[in-house]
């Protein structure tokens, strides 16, 4: 019981620390959304009736989650505290960060990842499909999500190799599944 409480306490401290970094994280992610929209202006329109509805993107190995809302002409990301309470998301997508990144940039197959147990989805399955298809059409690169625009072209191949390596070593047992 004590062990459980200590775990919860340390998770909470990590979450609080991450939330301190919320403004720069949100700024970077919102710029990424803006860049994606500029590059593929029609992509977010693929969300159809799910435009303006908030999705929860929950990387289980990070101390915080992300609320993503997209419109035909843009969108935004908020860094949020993970909670068990229903928060009105149209869908919640959780999994390991590397899998989620690979899905966002279209380098991993979503169906194979989901049906192999690498992802959990809750809420409207149609909304999840629409988001997947909108992000595919947006042609995001990993670097768009993780580094400033000026560095994206040169850093994208490196980031891609890191994510591919991390996912491959996990598959082949080079590193234990779910290691954080």
């Amino acid at each position: 019981m004590m062990h459980f409480s200590e775990e919860r306490l340390s998770a909470r401290i990590l979450t609080d620390l991450a939330l301190v970094l919320r403004p720069p994280m949100e700024m970077m992610l919102n710029l990424a959304v803006k860049r994606a929209w500029r590059r593929s202006a029609n992509a977010f329109g693929r969300l159809g009736r799910f435009q303006g509805r908030p999705y929860l993107i929950d990387p289980e190995d990070l101390p915080v989650a992300f609320e993503l809302t997209l419109f035909e002409d843009g969108g935004g990301v908020k860094v949020v505290r993970r909670t068990r309470r229903p928060m009105g998301y149209v869908a919640e997508i959780s999994g390991e960060l590397m899998d989620l990144l690979a899905l966002f940039d279209g380098s991993a197959d979503a169906d194979a990842t989901f049906f192999a147990g690498g992802l959990t989805v809750r809420g409207d399955t149609g909304a999840v499909l629409a988001l997947h298809n909108a992000l595919e059409a947006a042609n995001l690169r990993l670097a768009d999500l993780l580094v400033p625009a000026a560095l994206a072209p040169s850093l994208d191949p490196v980031l891609q190799r890191v994510v591919d390596w991390r996912r491959a070593t996990r598959r082949t047992g080079g590193m234990p599944h779910g290691v954080h």
Partner: protein
């Protein structure tokens, strides 16, 4: 192009580009409505995207085949007419259709555009094919996935049209265009609505023991943790009979007939098709690349064996089958 035309799926412009860059000879796609059999949220092309896609494909030496392969709904025929017009105006190399009315409308609007008979028409006899060829000028027939390789070889001997056969991807075990399982449970089918197991009717529940998939509230399967699940379709559901839970129609598995490419080619199959417009860039790039290598190897007189197990992790349930191609039962 090699000895067999490689026809690959494109659910979006990004997927179309990925397929062509990976070596597709032709790509097939649909418009954003129920006139094609992959009518999923966020998928498919609008008129502008289709025109750009055709331009891109032609610059790369590839063909674009537009699927308008659902059956027109009484009172809603205008939508199918509009899709045909959009495809022709975009410069599509062929229209893939199944409905007699759609086939006739295409021919009314254009004598030039190629007509391919969709698998949804389930034409599997020389007489049926002859009818479509003589009536509408159909140039190619996509044969149902319930036919064996021997049956396809026999059919080709008497066929007056080119034959295209599926070689990879989701495996419909029912004769296409005649399956009502999805509409029985959800009210929507691939035949009329363009969706099998519409996503709004699908839900997944993860428990400590595994994942339960449901369609319109009806539990289809419970996959233990660590195992790879199948698609939430009724034909791949697991049902209890005589106290034993088993897959009554078909186990969750994908078609992979790469090992049969040589015999399909020798039988006279003109084109092979990859299923999966609803998948994505990663899927289409990997599958196209593998089949491109296999066809090129075949044309050099080499074996396709080195490429035959490259795609298992993309298969439904993590398992592959040659499906009905080798079936010995009726």
């Amino acid at each position: 192009m090699g000895s067999i035309e490689l026809v690959c799926p494109a659910g979006s412009p990004a997927m179309l580009e990925a397929a062509i860059e990976a070596g597709a000879d032709s790509v097939y796609c649909g418009l954003r409505d129920e006139t094609n059999a992959r009518n999923f949220p966020g998928l498919n092309f609008d008129a502008t995207e289709l025109t750009r896609a055709v331009d891109f494909a032609h610059r790369k030496g590839s063909n674009v085949l537009v699927a308008i392969n659902t059956f027109a709904r009484a009172g809603g025929e205008d939508r199918w007419r509009a899709s045909v017009k959009t495809a022709i105006n975009a410069g599509a190399d062929a229209i893939i259709a199944a409905d007699l009315a759609v086939l006739a409308h295409v021919r009314q609007l254009s004598s030039a555009v190629r007509l391919h008979l969709s698998v949804q028409a389930a034409a599997n006899t020389p007489e049926a094919i002859r009818f479509y060829v003589e009536t509408f000028g159909v140039r190619r027939v996509v044969v149902p996935r319930v036919m064996s390789a021997a049956e396809i070889a026999d059919l080709i001997k008497e066929s007056s049209a080119e034959i295209e056969a599926f070689v990879f991807g989701g495996l419909c075990v029912m004769t296409e265009g005649r399956c009502a399982l999805s509409s029985y449970v959800s009210g929507q089918s691939p035949n009329l609505s363009g969706v099998c197991s519409p996503p709004e009717a699908v839900s997944f529940e993860r428990t400590s023991e595994g994942m339960i998939s449901r369609l319109a509230g009806l539990a289809l399967d419970k996959t233990p943790t660590g195992a790879t699940a199948g698609y939430p379709t009724l034909c791949k559901g697991r049902f209890a009979t005589d106290g034993d839970a088993t897959y009554l129609f078909e186990e969750p598995t994908s078609l992979n007939a790469m090992g049969l490419l040589a015999s399909l080619r020798d039988a006279g199959v003109k084109a092979v098709k990859i299923e999966g417009r609803q998948r994505g860039k990663a899927y289409v790039a990997r599958v196209t690349r593998a089949f491109r290598k296999a066809i090129d190897a075949l044309d050099r007189g080499e074996s396709t064996a080195p490429y035959e197990h490259m795609l298992t992790d993309l298969a439904e349930g993590g398992r592959e089958t040659e499906g009905a191609y080798n079936k010995r039962w009726r």
